[in-house]
């Protein structure tokens, strides 16, 4: 198991606490972990998609004002996600002890650490989706889960799973973007509001205000 594969769930945990700007780092780490596991056409395509799925939300959200809803429960959600990670590690150890044979067969295909890393990333995302109330934070949770799903699907080496993971990723990106577009006020409206309240004319230096 590569060090980058361990980094993926940890970065997911950081993203749950710090917000959407950590998402591109998670995507890059995920792509790195995928490419380090082997280099074929499928892995390369999924790595590119993983980066796209994480960069696109950050670019998209920069065009809108930030959500007014403040998430008070960020650390409790992160703590819950961490607890689930520990539970998953313990459950894997239990499975190793109890059923050995089926898990060994699975591990031969996937690799236990990589497999666990993907599951942890997916579960961290789901905890964020359920725990947060703000729409942007929930979207972030779904994006993290998509990264976990992509990682798991490629590690399992099943084309159907990869196809479904890419489909879910696209749906989360486009439908989430559509719903946010209908709800969040755009950033240009904010600048327009400043223009009106400060009596700016066209051609005035707006950067002077942000100074």
């Amino acid at each position: 198991m590569s060090l980058v594969a361990i980094l993926v769930p940890l970065l997911a945990l950081v993203a749950v606490v710090r917000g959407v700007w950590v998402l591109p780092l998670l995507g890059i780490a995920n792509a790195g972990a995928l490419l380090l596991g082997g280099q074929d056409r499928l892995r390369e395509s999924v790595a590119v998609l993983a980066v796209c799925f994480t960069v696109a939300p950050v670019v998209f959200l920069s065009r809108y004002q930030s959500e007014t809803h403040y998430e008070r429960s960020r650390f409790s959600v992160a703590f819950l996600a961490l607890s689930f990670m520990i539970l998953l590690v313990l459950a894997r150890v239990q499975m190793d002890v109890q059923i050995g044979v089926p898990l060994a067969a699975q591990v031969r295909v996937i690799g236990a650490g990589v497999f666990l890393s993907g599951v942890c990333t997916l579960v961290i995302g789901l905890v964020a989706v359920v725990g947060y109330r703000g729409m942007v934070w929930q979207w972030l949770g779904l994006q993290i889960s998509v990264q976990g799903a992509l990682f798991l699907a490629v590690a399992a080496q099943k084309n159907v799973l990869v196809g479904v993971a890419v489909l879910v990723g696209s749906v989360v990106l486009f439908q989430g973007g559509l719903c946010l577009h209908r709800i969040l006020p755009s950033a240009s409206a904010l600048i327009g509001g400043y223009r009106e309240s400060y009596g700016w004319q066209n051609g005035d230096d707006e950067n002077a205000y942000y100074g």
Binding site: G118, L126, L152, V171, L178
Partner: protein, 390 residues
């Protein structure tokens, strides 16, 4: 391949594709004529699925093995018949709609649900359900003021999709796999209180009705992945839902009663009583849409739907209860007792208002057809069972 086999395969394929053609027709015609077209399309769809039910798309090979053209058994075929009748009732219950996307949505969702049920790999079936969800939410969220409702719907259902996805990468038949898979299936179907979105309006039923039906039918096929833990978790989730419906009181919270047949259906899938699940599914498909009150049809009496969903005789869910209770004691006496207590509490709330315990015949056409279907199913399904069709 003989001519008769080719004809049955063609009919089966046409039954699957027909709702897509219907959606296109309904979207293209003008608003005035759209309801009439939608009705004829839905009626023909029902006819096709009934034909496909009677003529299975499988043939016996030279070596004697049965070769199925797609994932097809009699319960799944009967489920697709219910899907098409659910579409017909949805069209009958609603007035013509201005928005082309929304008026064709029940046809698109029914078509995608049908295709998801016959997908070779259950993972592919889940993928098709994701497409259905995306299409439905896209149509809802595009309207002004509906984005948040659409988002909540998508978010809750995608949690289920991710759980199912995760479980399908885990080793087959282990405890963790079964638990995750069952939780995912329950959340995807929207069983109260696990997967319900915060706000629901009547038009969401265009999407939710086929989606939940397809999920229950897929759950029957996913049993091989989940093993014993899958069954146990489905039964537990069903009993929790039944318990909450009976304790909270569905007169004050009607959404609980709407998913009551689904809860019993999941218990039936858990104890491998697929025919009973089919009978509960008929209650969900025929009566749950009528419980939505969008303010337009205040004058209509919805008592028939309440009684059908609460498993009163002579409706199909009542026969489903009898069938379920004949099987559950072999599984566990304590679970059977819990189900009986939950059912009795729900039924008691229905008889408390001094109205007739038996059937109350509705006035509107959709209600009459639904009541007729529910009664017909309650006789036909046990008859088909005795004749060996299931």
């Amino acid at each position: 391949m003989s001519i008769s086999t080719q004809i049955t395969i063609f009919l089966g394929a046409l039954a699957l594709v027909w709702p897509f053609i219907g959606a296109l027709l309904v979207a293209v015609v003008s608003v005035d004529r759209s309801r009439l077209w939608a009705l004829w399309v839905a009626v023909f769809g029902c006819f096709l699925t009934c034909l496909a039910f009677m003529c299975p798309t499988s043939e016996r090979s030279v070596s004697g093995n049965i070769i199925a053209m797609w994932q097809d058994d009699s319960v799944q075929r009967a489920g697709r018949v219910l899907l098409s009748f659910g579409l017909l009732l949805t069209v009958l219950e609603n007035l013509p709609l201005l928005n082309r996307g929304i008026r064709s949505l029940p046809h698109v969702s029914t078509a995608l649900s049908g295709v998801a049920c016959v997908a070779q790999d259950p993972v592919m079936g889940v993928g098709i359900l994701v497409i259905e969800l995306a299409w439905g939410v896209g149509v809802f969220a595009w309207r002004a003021g509906q984005a948040l409702a659409g988002w909540n719907l998508m978010r809750t259902r995608l949690v289920g999709v991710f759980l199912v996805f995760c479980s399908l990468t885990l080793p087959k038949g282990t405890f963790v796999t079964g638990l995750t898979l069952a939780c995912g299936v329950v959340a995807l179907a929207g069983l109260a209180p696990f997967g319900r979105s915060e706000s629901e309006e009547k038009k969401q039923m265009f999407l939710l009705l086929p989606l939940a039906t397809a999920t229950l039918l897929l759950a029957m096929r996913l049993r091989v992945f989940g093993g014993e833990a899958f069954s146990l978790t489905l039964v537990t989730a069903g009993i929790i839902s039944v318990g909450i419906t009976s304790c909270v009181g569905w007169r004050t919270e009607p959404h609980l009663l709407r998913t009551f047949p689904l809860a019993l259906g999941f218990i039936a899938v858990g104890v491998q009583a697929d025919v009973a699940a089919l009978l509960f599914l008929s209650g969900w498909c025929c009566a749950s849409g009528a419980l939505f009150d969008d303010g337009r049809d205040q004058g209509h009496d919805r008592e028939w739907a309440v009684r059908a969903l609460a498993c009163f005789p002579p409706n199909a869910p009542f026969v489903g209860c009898l069938l379920l209770l004949s099987i559950v004691p072999d599984w566990s006496w304590s679970i059977a007792t819990l189900i009986v207590v939950g059912l009795l509490l729900v039924v008691m709330q229905g008889v408390s208002d001094q109205k007739s315990i038996l059937l109350t015949w509705p006035e509107e056409a959709a209600g009459k057809l639904a009541c007729f279907l529910l009664m017909a199913m309650s006789f036909l399904v046990p008859l088909a069972m005795m004749l060996g069709a299931f």
